[in-house]
């Protein structure tokens, strides 16, 4: 107000401008740009595409891989612009399922699909996608799945290892309500109308290379060159890289490439150890990643790495991909008879997780992950879950028993051969239970204090601690 008075004698228009400004704001600075009035067409806003969400850790935009359990293991999902490489299992039974779940997730969310294969016609692949589980009947199907697989031993609630019951399960039962990840029923096919309503492009190699061309002395095999050109055309035509300003809603392109590196693509890394053109696949991945990073797309690739003879190529391929998951099925291997793995169909190895705009990556602590394909559903679990369900494999059956019961087996003689370990554990537990203060103030109990404290009792600030905490060992 003083400013108005002092320059009121100045130019009248500016004075009145200042006066009006100062009436509405405290300062005379005015914010440029749109007001936060909630209008849709002004100002920067978060890109909100259906089926994506920003990662809580590094802010990358994520899409679901089609399996919510896998999303959890990868830290929320697959980041847009990255490549998910799946190393196929030996008989190629489970990796097509992951591939199809990824594509089915794209259809359910309305993303554009690009399916490339040298083995099957993409139209046939799309016909075989699994059907999404809807809200109302999914819970019933989950429950009946759970009940079908209950064994008598698993009915015992965990009594000793009761804390493990509070561990979060690896996947949530029921559909995620936020519509990010969906569950799929592997025994049913996706409804035809969903496929027809979706926008997809197919690349079938025998159609694109119909004649036997001479192989040009080029670094990439012709199949790869054609695939890269096809992908580039789709990206630029449909504007996934922002080249055409799109009036309509922006969308994500999901690319799926099946059996990359197999001889059907014209690449002979699976056939010989000393390959003439060993850099073809690695150059393809490099160019593909460049295309993906500059567009709103995510890619899944399945590769038969068990056929690749030169292990250095596998290492290079792993480095050139972002997320690498290996599937190892138990069929035909000696692990099939191992009782530890009897409920599972194979192991999942998460070989690499990217560090996107980060110094560290989200590697989960759990290393022994196994998958099983139930009648309808593909689940991923920690292998030790099997043990935790049968807790007597961890704790010998007589342990707490001998601590508590009066008429325990001591008298009957069955534990008279108890070793030093057992008795030591018993004594250690008794000692530990004296250390734990059950939140009683010191005044009430007299015998709760420990007299064998090592060293002089030094209080930090000369005063007695009022609340010593649960484990009150004085230093």
């Amino acid at each position: 107000m003083a400013a108005v008075a002092s320059c009121g004698s100045g130019a009248g228009s500016t004075g009145s401008a200042v006066a009006t400004a100062s009436k509405s704001n405290v300062t005379s600075f005015q914010k440029r740009g749109p007001r936060a009035s909630g209008t849709n067409d002004s100002g920067p806003r978060l890109v909100s595409i259906a089926g994506t969400r920003p990662s809580v850790r590094n802010g990358q935009l994520l899409v679901s891989t089609g399996l919510p359990a896998l999303d959890q293991l990868l830290g929320g999902g697959l980041a847009i612009g990255t490549v998910l490489l799946i190393e196929e299992d030996k008989y190629n039974i489970y990796s097509p399922l992951l591939f199809k779940c990824f594509l089915a997730e794209g259809i359910v969310n309305g993303h554009t699909l690009l399916v490339a294969s040298a083995k099957e016609d993409p139209a046939n692949i799309l016909q075989e996608l699994p059907a999404p589980l809807l809200d109302d009947n999914s819970k019933k199907e989950f429950d009946e799945d759970v009940y079908n697989h209950k064994t008598p031993e698993s009915n015992i609630k965990m009594k000793i290892a009761w804390r493990y019951q509070l561990l979060p399960k690896m996947e949530q039962i029921g559909p995620v309500s936020s519509r990010f990840g969906h569950y799929y029923d592997a025994s049913k096919r996706i409804p035809q109308e969903l496929i027809e309503a979706s926008n997809w492009h197919g690349f079938f190699l025998p159609e694109k290379i119909s004649s036997t061309l001479k192989v040009e002395p080029c670094s990439l095999t012709p199949g790869y060159i054609k695939l890269l050109q096809f992908i580039q055309n789709i990206i630029s035509e449909e504007g996934f890289d922002g080249s055409n300003p799109q009036k309509k809603q922006r969308n994500v392109l999901r690319i799926g490439i099946q059996n990359l590196g197999s001889p059907l693509w014209g690449d002979d890394i699976c056939c010989a150890e000393n390959v003439s053109n060993s850099h073809s696949l690695t150059k393809f991945l490099y160019v593909l990643r460049g295309l993906l990073r500059t567009s709103l797309s995510a890619c899944i690739i399945t590769m038969p790495t068990h056929l690749i003879q030169n292990k250095a190529i596998i290492a290079r391929v792993t480095n050139l991909s972002d997320i690498v998951i290996g599937l190892e099925s138990f069929i035909g291997s000696e692990r099939e008879t191992n009782p530890l793995y009897k409920d599972y169909h194979g192991l999942i190895h998460i070989r690499q997780i990217p560090r996107l705009n980060n110094l560290i990556c989200d590697e989960s602590d759990v290393k022994d992950l196994a998958f099983k394909l139930k009648r309808k559903l593909f689940t991923i679990e920690w292998v030790q879950d099997n043990y935790l369900r049968q807790e007597r494999n961890i704790y010998p059956p007589g342990f707490s028993y001998l601590l508590k019961q009066k008429d325990s087996a001591w008298g009957e003689g069955s534990l008279q051969h108890s070793t030093f370990l057992m008795s030591f554990l018993a004594k250690a537990t008794a000692f530990a239970s004296r250390l734990v203060r059950h939140s009683e103030p010191l005044k009430q109990t007299g015998s709760g204090r420990i007299h064998q404290a090592a060293g002089p009792r030094l209080w930090h600030d000369g005063r007695r601690q009022e609340a010593p905490g649960l484990l009150g060992i004085p230093l």
Binding site: A272, H417, R464
Partner: protein, 300 residues
């Protein structure tokens, strides 16, 4: 199952070795499909036509369509009867025929083709041939193509063999024991678990297949008989087993951290006969009666 190999279609890989040769099995399967009335094409690259036709009856020999690449593999004589494009051209020409009816193609042998052609080209051609009938909406057996390929596995490294077996629908590995031949059949169906089976057989002089039982009565258990399942609870110095009485007592045990409703009631309810709680305490020699000074028992 050995006799129904060809009914599945696709690529059937016959892997043989020096001890157990597979050409006789190949000829037996060729004879069987010829007798079934299918069109049979043979691409003969490794042995001469006379040797291949030896042992077949005349009516079977009339049904076989033989493409000879043994006599003149590089087409130096430049005669008209040589098919253009070599063996692969012949393969493609067979597929382009529009005759209805199942076709069986016998490749004798795939090893020869692997040594003369790049592996990727061969794989692509085989895939195109064996999947020719997978047009959408057309599931009738018209045009069903079975390709029988003889592969000598000792000639190749693991790479080409692995690549071909990943393409194959069925893989038959020949082996045997004590003069008795066996075929280990691994059947890969597209989205199901592969099934495998071992079949003992012998080939009669007229190339018909004789399925037999195993050579001796001993049957192999599925797990290795030398390693019995190990029970870790034996030879321990303490007892890990529970008797029934012990088990009942264990089950009825209430753990300290479990809060059942009885325990809760017992804790909340004041104990009868005690209005206030008493603490009976006998001080120790080391015990500090003065609650205020913690350093009382330090002797400085």
């Amino acid at each position: 199952m050995l006799d129904s190999l060809l009914s599945l279609g696709g690529l059937v890989l016959l892997r043989d070795s020096v001890e157990w040769e597979g050409r006789s099995l190949l000829k037996a399967l060729v004879k069987k499909s010829a007798l079934c009335g299918e069109q049979v094409h043979i691409l003969g690259c490794e042995v001469s036509e006379e040797e291949f036709r030896e042992g077949f009856d005349s009516d079977i020999n009339n049904r076989l369509v033989y493409h000879d690449f043994f006599r003149d593999p590089l087409n130096w004589s430049k005669t008209e009867e040589a098919l253009p494009g070599g063996p692969l051209g012949a393969l493609r020409a067979i597929c382009k025929r529009t005759d209805p009816g199942p076709v069986t193609i016998a490749l004798d042998s795939l090893s020869w083709l692997l040594l003369h052609l790049p592996c990727t080209t061969l794989c692509q051609a085989l895939h195109a041939v064996s999947h020719q009938d997978s047009c959408p909406g057309d599931s009738s057996p018209v045009g069903k193509v079975s390709v029988l390929g003889l592969l000598h596995e000792e000639l190749h490294g693991p790479g080409p063999v692995g690549a071909l077996s990943s393409l194959a629908q069925t893989e038959v590995t020949l082996g045997g024991r004590k003069g008795q031949a066996s075929a280990h059949i691994l059947c890969r169906r597209p989205r199901q678990r592969p099934t495998d089976q071992t079949q003992w057989f012998s080939i009669l002089p007229d190339f018909s297949l004789d399925l037999q039982e195993g050579p001796s009565v001993e049957s192999q258990p599925c797990s290795d008989p030398h390693i019995p399942p190990v029970d870790p609870t034996t030879h321990l110095t303490f007892n890990l087993h529970l008797s029934k009485k012990e088990r009942e007592a264990r089950d009825s045990l209430i753990l300290p951290f479990q809060f059942s409703s009885e325990k809760q009631q017992a804790l909340l309810r004041p104990r009868p006969g005690q209005a206030t709680s008493h603490i009976f305490y006998e001080p120790d020699a080391y015990d500090d009666l003065d609650q205020e000074d913690p350093d009382d028992d330090l002797d400085i």
